[in-house]
């Protein structure tokens, strides 16, 4: 009887070892943090193509030309400085021409928590609104929706001279 018990234990042990080996060798499938994915997709240069209320890039009879360049903070910096690991931060440069004249430049920082985007200019003045961010599937179309205004941007490169 003892030989049969020993044999069962050995078989169980071998099965356990085999299972352990099987689990150890199976490669893990990486899953990207949605926050980081959104932040990466946000990075780049965007040109305003539609203001929802007017469905154009004009307000009244005045043309509006806006370029935004979003840059994401380095991941190390993000981990070290972020108040919460669930947020992404970075800098922005905004070029705008309202009506006639030349482009004016504004700079500052942004914070993305989930799909909620906020920011402030370099002098500490917060943006005029907070936005919900939506990107289309190929990340070429960005929608920033404020409570009463939704603007659509397309990915582009900065014109020379800006």
């Amino acid at each position: 009887m003892k030989n049969e018990e020993l044999g069962m234990k050995n078989r169980l042990f071998l099965i356990a070892v085999a299972l352990l080996a099987l689990v150890s060798c199976t490669p893990k499938t990486p899953t990207e943090d949605p926050q980081e994915k959104m932040a990466k997709a946000l990075a780049g240069t965007w040109n305003l193509i539609s203001i929802t209320e007017t469905r154009s890039v004009s307000i009244g009879s005045e043309e509006v030309d806006v370029y935004i360049v979003f840059e994401t903070d380095q991941p190390e910096a993000t981990r070290a400085e972020a108040a919460s690991p669930a947020e992404s931060t970075g800098t922005f440069t905004l070029y705008q021409m309202l009506g006639t004249g030349r482009f004016r430049t504004f700079r500052g920082r942004w914070t993305l928590i989930g799909t909620h985007l906020t920011g402030a200019y370099t002098n500490g003045t917060p943006w005029g609104a907070e936005y919900e961010v939506t990107l289309d599937d190929d990340d070429t179309r960005l929608t920033l929706a404020a409570p009463k205004e939704t603007c659509i941007y397309t990915r582009t490169t900065l014109p020379s001279g800006l």
């Binding site: 307000i59 009244g60 200019y121």
Partner: protein
């Protein structure tokens, strides 16, 4: 020689008949019709104080015939010549402003100027009789020439600052970039300057096609820090000496012309009378406007370029020479010359003694229908388009150094820019005129600012100087000098105007001359908020309250001017909210102190702005926007846009004109975009 009245010419009085000849139509006075008295008053546009004797300026209905000349001879005229040579291609303009009908009449020693004037005005063919008044230039009582070595020693203890050009003495030119360096003046006010630094760095340094005529003493055309920016009449430079190669009526006018000696520019001192001296005034003014920048030499000029040969050009129109000249005839010829030879701006640091005239009409024509010769010349210049930006010339004058509460004429004319002065303390200079007719204030320099118990010259304005002239100890060889005066403030504004024309040309912008002047005058910073209490400077005590709201639109701001040239400012407003919008960024920070023009609003102090019906509808306005406390009130109820037009006065509480000295009316247009929200910075996000 004692003069006597020719017996057959009698001063006209009511009840007497007076005539130069029986064959011409002359006004005849009778007891019933005292037309002679009235005729004299109607034709003589000024009085005989401070005039050149032995000459009268006459304007005719048409070119004088032989018969008219004969009658003039009977009145004591020995020679009659047109004042202005006719410029090829300018005949129509000359006729429009009557310059072709002005003549200078040389008088016999046998007749007094007054008696000749009385007699000549009776001739029907003569529309205007003018005494040849003499101006004075707004020169400073202080001119301190300095050598490069002296400037180097002074600068040795100062740390280098972030300056855009390598000109070694830019650090003394606090009027351009004022870092608050107390080694220049212990009470210096940081930022008291024309804010030109970023314009130089980012926008422009000038354009060689923009020419500024310095109407003054001569500009030393071969000054090492000016020569490269002198305007050159190529036809004369490449032509024959002694020949009027371009047919403009002047011989060998290569860098300009000496209208006193009718010849070459003359800035040296060689008069037998030691009191008759040149002071370097024209050269100093020219240096402020366009000394060559970034040439590792000397000083900077506001429109002196960036070191790439791109500075504006200086044309020397000499009207003073060793205390001679400076009369109406000479000044008028110089102004016409500037117009004919391509100047876009005339920089005029001269004027009548303060208080000589108290209204535009009194200056222009003695309250009669005929205009003075220099008024006709100024109008001719204003009608001359010499660049691709504006449709006419821009005259800029010094306001005067008499400490009077009004500007001097011609600068006080309502449509001419007149410049007052401030010192390094950003307070009115003790000498400056202020009040009605003074449109804007600029650095004029000021002596008497202490440094370590002494009075160095650095509180004044440093610029170019003719090395042929000596200092107080007659030491020569000095290429630079400190000086003060509204004479120095005037070229600051002339330089900024030239820089503005250069930038506008670069952008392809065009304006009317009126629009351009309005933009210039609305590009000003607050100057009033510190005008409280007293300013004590040596033996001078200024009650600063007297200067509040009396310094025009404020202190000129070059960078703001460039921004305005770029385009109509576009401001954002929040839909569904009544709000005040600060327009000072675009209208000058003196906007709170300006007098606004328009229909009154519902409450005291409100002045309605203009807006079209279409724009009112686009913004959903329930009431018109208005100005109050220097801010624009607006309540848009719809997402849209509109243009709001704001009217104000630059340099007074009333618009200048025939009745009184006053300011220049100006208009500023702003665009309002109404959105559902706005940021505090004006940024889109």
């Amino acid at each position: 020689m004692k003069k006597r009245i020719i017996p057959f010419i009698l001063t006209a009085v009511v009840g007497m008949t007076t005539a130069c000849s029986d064959s011409l139509e002359v006004a005849v006075a009778t007891p019933e019709s005292p037309v002679t008295q009235a005729t004299r008053s109607a034709k003589i546009v000024n009085d005989s104080e401070i005039t050149r004797q032995g000459i009268l300026l006459l304007k005719f209905e048409s070119a004088p015939t032989d018969e008219v000349r004969s009658q003039l001879a009977s009145c004591g005229v020995t020679d009659l010549q047109p004042v202005f040579p006719s410029m090829p291609g300018k005949k129509e303009l000359e006729q429009r402003f009557g310059l072709d009908r002005w003549y200078e009449a040389t008088l016999s020693d046998e007749v007094t100027t007054d008696a000749a004037a009385d007699a000549i005005c009776l001739l029907a063919e003569v529309t205007t009789v003018q005494y040849d008044n003499v101006y004075h230039n707004e020169e400073s009582e202080f001119v301190v020439p300095v050598s490069e070595s002296e400037l180097g020693l002074r600068a040795a203890t100062r740390a280098a600052t972030d300056l855009p050009f390598n000109d070694p003495w830019l650090r003394y030119q606090w009027g351009y970039i004022n870092t608050g360096d107390v080694s220049l003046a212990e009470d210096i006010y940081k930022g008291a300057d024309i804010n030109v630094k970023n314009a130089w760095k980012n926008l422009t340094g000038g354009d060689p096609e923009i020419i500024v005529a310095v109407v003054d003493e001569a500009v030393k055309s071969d000054h090492p820090d000016l020569a490269a920016n002198m305007w050159v009449n190529e036809a004369e430079r490449n032509g024959k000496e002694g020949v009027d190669d371009d047919g403009n009526g002047y011989v060998d006018d290569i860098y300009g012309y000496n209208f006193v000696r009718n010849g070459a520019l003359h800035w040296k001192n060689d008069h037998p009378n030691d009191e008759y001296v040149n002071t370097g005034h024209g050269t100093h003014c020219a240096g402020t406007i366009a000394a060559v920048n970034n040439n590792n030499l000397g000083v900077c000029g506001i429109a002196g370029g960036t070191g790439n040969g791109d500075g504006c050009r200086i044309m020397s129109c000499q009207i003073f020479d060793q205390k001679e000249g400076g009369d109406s005839r000479i000044a008028s010829k110089a102004i016409k010359y500037a117009a004919d030879m391509g100047a876009s701006i005339i920089s005029c640091s001269f004027g009548y003694p303060g208080g000589t005239y108290k209204s535009d009409a009194a200056y222009r024509n003695g309250n009669n229908k005929s205009n003075k010769i220099e008024y006709d010349a100024i109008k001719y210049f204003e009608a001359s388009k010499n660049n691709s930006v504006v449709d006419g010339g821009i005259p800029i004058f010094a306001a005067g150094n008499d400490g009077d509460p009004y500007a001097t004429y011609p600068g006080a004319l309502y449509d001419v820019i007149s410049v007052s002065a401030f010192g390094p303390d950003y307070l009115p200079a003790y000498y400056t005129n202020y009040g009605p007719g003074c449109n804007i204030v600029a650095p004029g320099g000021e002596y008497y600012h202490k440094v370590n118990g002494s009075y160095p010259p650095e509180g004044m304005i440093l610029s170019c100087y003719p090395s042929e002239l000596g200092d107080a100890w007659d030491v020569r060889g000095k290429d630079y000098a400190f000086s003060q005066g509204t004479s120095m403030a005037c070229p600051h504004v002339s330089g900024v105007a030239a820089l503005g024309l250069s930038y506008a040309k670069k952008l392809g912008k065009t304006f009317t001359a009126t629009e351009f002047k309005e933009l210039l005058l609305s590009s000003a910073n607050d100057f009033d908020s510190r005008l409280k209490g007293e300013k004590k400077l040596y033996n001078n005590t200024l009650n600063l309250g007297n200067y509040r709201k009396q310094m025009g639109t404020g202190s000129i701001d070059t960078y703001l001017f460039m921004m305005q040239i770029e385009g109509i400012p576009c401001l954002t407003a929040e839909t569904g909210r009544n709000q005040w919008i600060d327009v000072s960024q675009y209208f000058g920070t003196s906007s709170v102190n300006l007098t606004y023009l328009g229909e009154p609003g519902k409450e005291n102090g409100q002045v309605l702005c203009e807006i079209s019906d279409e724009d009112r509808e686009s913004l959903g306005l329930q009431q018109d926007p208005y100005m109050q406390y220097g801010k624009l009130y607006i309540y848009p109820t719809k997402i849209g846009s509109g243009k709001v037009i704001i009217h104000a006065i630059a340099g007074g509480t009333i618009v200048g004109g025939d009745d009184a000295i006053g300011g220049m009316p100006m208009t500023q247009e702003v665009t309002i975009i109404s959105r559902t929200f706005k940021s505090g910075t004006g940024g889109w996000l």
